[in-house]
Amino acid sequence: MTLDHHGQLLAPVDSQLVPPSAPIIEQIRRAKSKATLRFRIVFLATWLAIIGTLALALAGSFDGGFVSEWLGYILGGVGITVLVSVVSIAFAVVFAMLGALGRLSNHASIYAAASLYVSLVRGTPLLVQIFFVYYALPEVLPPVAKVPGIYLGILALSFNYGAYMTEIFRAGIQAVPRGQSEAAQALGMPERTVLRRIVLPQAIRIVIPAIGNEFIAMIKDSSLVSVVAVQELLWRARRAGAQDFNTFEALTIAALVYWALTIAFSLVQDRLEKRMARGDR
């Protein structure tokens, strides 16, 4: 059955041969873009309504003076937060790579060690690990007491994330088609070269999006190292808030900054992934 562009039924002669008329297609397109636009407007309006209501309701108890006095100080922690996150994720990648190779090893002892690492670290809370490294470790290893909290915090964060990312890396390595290592072996490459030159480069491409997600989680979890006196965002917010009992303002600022950071990095990640998808693969 075919409709003409006034929506009237045409004679059913050769109905399959008559192409849909151009005006109909144009109408459909216009209707679709209108619907998309409306969806976006409602989305934005809903956000503004909820956030605006919250802001108005809380504005009364929000101390503007505190903000002007302490905002700069709190924002000064953003650098440390980002630094801790970046360095920790970098070390976590190293731990994860070693962990994944261990989990794929045929040597029972290597496999066992890697499995123990993953099980132990994933089976205990990150906060306990941070406390452990900072407070408990110096009792058995006195020199650790001299190490600044930021190093120990980075150690705990990267060790913890490395265990989670071990499984990501293992899956990434296994996702490289078997034919790749067979082709490399058939060319006479020793196993080490096959791994380093053929398998790992392809595995890393596979896991990069997942590393991005872990990094976003890391930005938030880095707030935990505030408990070992690392002067990052949350630590500064708590300190500022404690001055005159402005915890509400201080933590609101901190939360908003974390939110902004994760949104910003999500955008960067989107771009990176799009560019990688465009690239040669």
Binding site: P177, G179, Q180, E182, A183, A184, Q185, A186, L187, G188, M189, P190, T193, R197, I198, P201, Q202, R205, D280, R281
Partner: protein, 276 residues
Amino acid sequence: MTHVDRPDYPAAEMPSHLGSVIVRAQGIHKYFGDLHVLRGVDLDVWQAEAVMLIGRSGSGKTTLLRCINFLEEPTLGTIEVDGVRVEADPLGRRSKGHREAIRKIRLRAGMLFQEFNLFPHMSVLQNCIEAPTRIKGVSRDEAVATAEKYLDKVGLLEKRDEYPARLSGGQKQRVAIARAMCMGPKVLMFDEPTSALDPELIGEVLKVMEELAHEGTTMIVVTHEMHFAREAADRVVFMEGGVIVEQGPPEQVLNEPRDDRTKQFLRRFLATETGA
């Protein structure tokens, strides 16, 4: 161990341009679990000879090929490639010496796969020079010159800086051939090199292979392309049930097969081929 009798390849039928034995597989057995896939295969391949392995799927021809360069460890038997002799290590205890010997065999036996297996993160040229520079210690300039020579030979020199994702299947397989040639192998082994290709792309790959065969490249080819076997083979080997049933010059095996199993296979195969 019982070797199934097979008609010997009569010396009189051996093409005169053939030299010494390059590949010698002796008494090859292969089990996958309880499945006895190769049941005592002996195969000698002479220098400059093009040997085509045919047979229905599951007959063991691909497994035989993969046993020759130890992508599958034979359960029993001996492989010798260009003077490097390796005994099967049935318990899979891959000692260092065993691994090194296998690597020596692989350096002498190039392999082409159904799925091409080009390295997707490397350009065509990098694909070709990676192994020569890294493991043969060839200088980069020399490796590039060799790569360009073989890329030109397969007609893809202008693609040297492309990545595999931008090549057609036929082009990928031709690059894979060039990549294998860059290692200077004594024998090229092809595992159904055109089975993953769209029909219109098969010809360009077979043409390159036929050229190589006519130039005297030693080749072992697992194939279902009977026309190609007829044109390019010096010897056709028919396998069934994990043994070599019949072998000889293509005219003989393909036109006047002696064994009933060969006759049956060819009858069915040609019927489906023309019926398709």
